[in-house]
């Protein structure tokens, strides 16, 4: 196993393996990290292959599918939880 790296997830610094799909990291915490637009229902990874856009997060400010992105040292991930506490924005 390679050296763990540090990333920021919703403001918390955590240690993870490098090059890990972000869905792996997020599922570990809780399977729902997004909110649906109209009903504000909890959502999380569904198709896992880049087509359903249910797993979207912000990575370094960019709208990103968690299933298509991998952990890199220093990356900053924001999910709907942090955005809600920060006062808004849809993912």
């Amino acid at each position: 196993m390679s050296q763990p790296i540090r990333i920021t997830l919703d403001g918390d610094e955590i240690e993870v393996a490098p090059d890990l799909p972000l869905t792996s990291i997020l599922m570990e915490r809780a399977p729902g990290w997004r909110e649906s637009p109209r009903l504000q229902a909890r959502r999380g990874m569904f198709c896992g292959m880049g087509l359903c856009f249910e797993c979207v997060v912000e990575v370094d400010g960019q709208w990103t599918r968690a299933c298509m992105e991998r952990s890199r040292s220093g990356m900053e991930i924001r999910t709907a939880d942090q955005r809600r506490s920060a006062g808004g924005g849809h993912v």
């Binding site: 196993m1 799909p21 792996s24 399977p31 637009p37 229902a41 909890r42 292959m49 087509l51 299933c67």
Partner: protein, 485 residues
């Protein structure tokens, strides 16, 4: 007023890199890899593109972690070795590269606009091979949008490319229909991840299985291995059952299953609840990914056994659009073997079409026929459900992107929407980020309820952008001067 509009640019510096090739292959799964090898072998300059971080597609997806038990499986090795051979032949492999626009120009050549990790590329190609593969064909059921309910393919991807665990606490249930469930169960076993329940709609009888393997005896060992691994997973097997509800408040907590009666409907009197479930991986089959081929305007057919709408090809892999070829599951479901063979055939044909010396591979053509026969027989043992297997409560969602309920869809049909496009316009189902890929099967099933067949309902043809793409990248690609000619 029109004058000043021409005098500025969003970002003058952002210009797409132009890449030239003879043949561009979209998708680096078994079909794309085989196509690349065949085409490059004729001397054609090949660019191979894939959305993911490594070639392999779904079948040969590459682990990310060095200590993964999947590092050396035959499928993984296959893609790794093919990739090495392609690189040695000078094939340019672009990973994390998503095609978001494609056009055929009047001179017969093609252009692909590609978004690759924050940069725009435009590929010039004499011919294009669409090897875009297949995706889950999800059927909605009560509770299917709860976090923790994931596609069977998603579970497999997570196990193979992650740390070997699905994440959520609690039991794991694998459910749905078709032989792919066994492959996923095998992945659980290999990853050492616990699988508690396997819920399958149909378990083919011994006689049916016997018929299949008498016709294709070479496939028997693989099947026996799958069955042995399934047993080793120690999952409790519920044959002839289906998931009737996923239960939970903010995420999945339990799964209700019920036995199917002779009419194919679940017998709710005998339904029971599996408690303490953290993950439900569910798969009712796959559908071809046809956004690239529909955008380019190739002809498509519909066959439930092939996963619904598929790109039509001739024996040489050519589509109705000259210079556009399709291989693998873009042309209909069938698995890795037909994919490899059709990839090889399309790769040779595309090269031959551009004047490279490439004789048709008669052996591959014959083998493809046989591989497709096996796939068709296999598919016949597990016919993919076309209708909603159980009636949905009115509030259940069909379109997850826009939160469109089944009652909204039914009301639109009642008001006179008689095709997929009309339902989309009148309900917003399919107007969100997935662009109808995820809700398509559910929508088509609700139209079926109203007597509109899938063929009459039609498909929504893809347009720019094939996948959501940042406008800066779109601009850089479209400003390249390679389009509108």
């Amino acid at each position: 007023m029109s004058e000043p509009q021409t005098h500025f640019r969003t970002d003058e510096g952002a210009v797409a890199q132009i890449l030239d090739c003879d043949i561009a292959i979209v998708g680096a799964g078994p079909a794309g890899l085989a196509a690349g090898e065949a085409a490059a072998g004729t001397g054609a300059r090949v660019i191979l593109l894939d959305t993911f971080a490594a070639p392999g597609g779904q079948y040969s997806m590459q682990p990310t972690q060095g200590d993964s038990p999947f590092t050396d499986t035959p499928a993984v090795r296959l893609a790794r070795e093919a990739t090495a051979r392609l690189a040695a032949r000078g094939v340019q492999i672009l990973t994390r590269a998503e095609v978001f626009h494609a056009a055929k120009r009047q001179d017969g050549s093609f252009r692909l606009a590609v978004s690759q990790q924050g940069a725009a590329r435009v590929i010039r190609a004499g011919a294009v091979i669409a090897a875009t593969g297949a995706m889950e064909r999800p059927l909605p059921f009560p509770g299917w949008t709860l976090p923790g309910v994931i596609g069977a393919g998603a579970a497999q991807r997570l196990l193979k490319t992650g740390t070997g665990s699905l994440g959520p606490q609690g039991k794991t249930v694998l459910a749905g229909s078709g032989p792919f469930l066994f492959a996923v169960a095998q992945t659980f076993a290999k990853a050492g991840a616990p699988l508690d329940h396997l819920v399958e709609m149909r378990r083919p009888g011994v006689r049916e299985a016997l018929g299949l393997f008498l016709a294709h005896p070479s496939r028997l060992p693989e099947a026996l291995r799958l069955m042995a691994d399934l047993k080793a997973s120690r999952a409790r097997r519920h044959s002839g059952h289906m998931v009737t509800r996923a239960l939970g408040t903010t995420c999945l907590e339990a799964v209700e299953i019920a036995p199917l009666g002779p009419d194919g409907q679940p017998g709710m009197a005998a339904a029971r609840v599996l408690d303490g479930v953290g993950t439900l991986a569910i798969g009712y089959g796959f559908q071809p990914v046809v956004d690239l081929t529909t955008q380019l305007g190739a002809d498509h057919g519909h066959d439930p056994a092939l996963g619904g709408f598929y790109c039509q090809t001739g024996a040489d892999g050519g589509t109705s659009l000259a210079g556009l070829y399709a291989a693998g599951e873009t042309c209909g479901l069938g698995g890795a073997n037909p994919a490899r063979l059709s990839g090889r055939i399309a790769g040779l044909s595309a090269a031959r079409g551009l004047g490279f010396a490439a004789a048709p591979d008669e052996t591959a053509i014959k083998a493809l026929r046989r591989a497709r026969d096996f796939a068709a027989r296999l598919a016949a043992l597990w016919p993919a459900p076309q209708r909603l297997p159980l009636s949905l409560p009115p509030d259940e969602l069909i379109c997850r992107c826009e939160d469109v309920r089944v009652t909204d869809i039914r009301a639109a049909i009642q008001d006179g929407a008689r095709e997929a496009m009309a339902v989309k316009l009148w309900t917003r189902a399919g107007m969100g980020p997935c662009q109808g890929r995820i809700c398509g099967a559910g929508l088509s099933a609700v139209l079926e309820e109203a007597g509109v067949t899938a063929i009459a309902a039609g498909y929504n043809r893809a347009h720019l952008p094939l996948r959501p793409t940042p406008i800066g990248i779109v601009r850089a690609a479209m400003a390249s001067g390679e389009w509108d000619i």
